[in-house]
Every structure is written in structure tokens, then in C-alpha cells.
């Protein structure tokens, strides 16, 4: 089936098509899902190279589970976010003891030199503050406030109740604000219009 014809097909139907040997299904699924797992892994790990490995491994597990996937039983995105979150947690556990300053920061291009520097500073500051959060809080904040998932979906990803998600995201965001508090002027938020 040509890729254009598959653009409106659901994720789980695409996975079944992939398992049945459709050569276009993998490309459509990858285009749709890889940016999401890569962004999640990058925010969780704060390291591009590790995020790439985790995103690739998450997708690899998706390809492996495809022949056994049962349509309608679970959302592919939720399953994938969960796999990615677990892989990130494993990596973070192994990485304990590495100083935050040693974690490389992601780069974001921006239009002008000054704007680019400021955006870069803000992105770096956000990532540094995210890195300083406890793992579960960071995961909840990233999924809720950056990936834009709803609380029930985050609850499914993290294997906790929606109330626990609310609590984690609220505490995480408060901690993030506290970590960034001293840097508002430096990051240009004192005289910036919203």
C-alpha cells in the first residue's frame, strides 16, 4: 500500500500491516512515532547520543512485538512511551554518580544570533533543571508538560493512578520553578513580554 494511503490509518492497524509484510507501514509508523520517543528520551536523559540509542531500542521492541499485537487492546503510543520510559530509567540508574555538569546539553537552532543564544540558554537551563528532578517527577513533567499527554495516559505509562500523576506533576513543576527561580533575569524573563 503506498505511504500516502496509510496516513489516516491508526497506529495499531499499521502495526498489523507491518506484521503482514506491508513494506510501507514501517516508514509511516517510524515517521509518526520516532520523533515522540526521541523527544521523550532526550528530555529524560539530557543526552542526544543516549536518547538515539533508547529511541532505536524502543522502536526495535515495537517491531518485535508486531506479530503478536492485538488490535484495540492497548494504544501503541502508550505502550511505546512506557517502553521508552523504562529504558530511560534503566540508563539513569546505571548512570548514578555522574555529575550533572557532565551531561551534554541539547542544541536548539533559533532565528537570530541573540535570540538563538537566549533560546539556547533557556533550553539548556530547562534541561539542567529537569535533570535535577527525581526521575519519576521528571518523567511525569516531561510527559504532561512537554509531550502533552493526558493524566490517564501518563498513569498507564508509569503504572500509577491518575491522582498520583497529578501529585507528581504538581511537585515536579514546583521544584522546576524553584530551580529556575534564580535565573529569571539571566534568561531574559524579567523584561520579556509573555
Amino acid at each position: 500500500m503506498p505511504p500516502d494511503a496509510l496516513s489516516t490509518v491508526t497506529d495499531d492497524a499499521l502495526l498489523v500491516l507491518y506484521a503482514n509484510g506491508d513494506p510501507s507501514a514501517a516508514r509511516v509508523l517510524t515517521t509518526r512515532l520516532l520523533p515522540r520517543v526521541f523527544a521523550q528520551a532526550r528530555r529524560m536523559l539530557g543526552d542526544d547520543s543516549e536518547a538515539e540509542d533508547v529511541a532505536q531500542e524502543s522502536m526495535l521492541r515495537l517491531w518485535r512485538i508486531a506479530p503478536e499485537w492485538r488490535q484495540g487492546e492497548a494504544q501503541v503510543t502508550t505502550w511505546l512511551y512506557k517502553v521508552c520510559a523504562n529504558l530511560c530509567t534503566d540508563r539513569l540508574r546505571k548512570r548514578r554518580g555522574v555529575a550533572l555538569e557532565e551531561v551534554s546539553e541539547p542544541a536548539d537552532p533559533a532565528p537570530t544570533a541573540v535570540q538563538r543564544m537566549q533560546d539556547r540558554s533557556r533550553s539548556d537551563a530547562l534541561q539542567t533543571a529537569l535533570n535535577a528532578l527525581p526521575d519519576r517527577q521528571r518523567q511525569a513533567v516531561v510527559l504532561r508538560h512537554i509531550e502533552g499527554l493526558a493524566n490517564p495516559e501518563i498513569a498507564a505509562v508509569m503504572d500509577i493512578s491518575p491522582r498520583a500523576v497529578e501529585s507528581l506533576t504538581a511537585r515536579g513543576k514546583r521544584a522546576l520553578a524553584a530551580l529556575l527561580a534564580g535565573r529569571r533575569a539571566e534568561l531574559g524573563y524579567e523584561d520579556d513580554t509573555p
Binding site: Y18, A19, N20, G21, P23, A26, R27, L29, T30, L34, P35, R36, F38, A39, R42, R43, D48, E52, A55, Q56, M59, L60, W63, R64, A66, P67, P106, D108, D119, R122, S123, A125, L126, V141, H145, I146, E147, G148, K173, R174, L176, A177, A178, L180, A181, R184, L187, Y189, P194
Partner: protein, 122 residues
């Protein structure tokens, strides 16, 4: 919550919003690696099943192909013809069994069944 807390929270919201608006670009090499994995792990397309032969083809094959069918048709036609219009020399088995025209049947078949006896008797 102090006014400072509000400002801190607003700045944090704006930073998170900016992060949400600008997702990272997926490196081309990562995309290529993932597609390679997908290709390597994709189950092979199941070979198309040969259409199941029709029932009459299977029956024909069972009785020896078209030659067998031809013989069967010829034998059937002959059987029907004999049934509809039996030769006079062949006894009517149906009538014989039912007891009709026993005498006539016996007499009409006497020439065959007693072939040679009449000569011996002179």
C-alpha cells in the same frame, strides 16, 4: 504563594511551552537505523495460497481425468438407453421380479435359455 512564586511559575510554564513547541529534529542517521531494523525484523509476506481446485475437478481427477469422465458418461448413456428401450432378447428383470407376465417372459426367453435343447430333442 508569593508574587515571586507566581512569576517563577509563569516563567517555567513559558519554558515548558517553548520546549513543547520545538520538538527536537530526529537525526537522519537515527531514522535510517530504525528503518533498517524494521526491514530486518519484518515478517516475510505469506505466499499467496494456490486456489483450491473446484469440487468437480477433484472428482474428475479421482476417476482418472478426462478419459475416465468420458468413459463414465458413455457408460451412463448406454445404461439409460438400455433402461428406456431394452433389447427384446434381454429379459425384463423388473417385470420378472414383480411377477408380471411371467409366462410371456419365460416363453420369450426360452429360445435363449434352452439353446440347443430343442435340437437334441429333435
Amino acid at each position: 504563594m508569593t508574587p515571586h512564586d507566581d512569576e517563577d511559575m509563569t516563567a517555567t510554564d513559558r519554558m515548558l511551552e517553548a520546549a513543547r513547541r520545538t520538538p527536537p529534529d530526529v537525526p537522519a542517521r537515527l531514522m535510517a537505523r530504525v528503518l533498517e531494523d524494521a526491514d530486518a525484523l519484518q515478517p516475510a509476506i505469506a505466499p499467496a495460497m494456490a486456489p483450491h481446485p473446484a469440487l468437480w475437478r477433484r472428482i474428475a481427477a479421482g476417476i482418472g481425468g478426462w478419459q475416465g469422465v468420458g468413459g463414465l458418461v458413455a457408460a451412463t448413456c448406454a445404461g439409460i438407453w438400455i433402461g428406456v428401450s431394452p433389447p427384446a432378447a434381454i429379459p425384463d428383470a423388473g417385470a420378472y421380479l414383480l411377477g408380471y407376465e411371467m409366462g410371456a417372459t419365460a416363453s420369450s426367453t426360452a429360445e435363449l435359455t434352452s439353446f440347443g435343447w430343442d435340437l437334441d430333442e429333435g
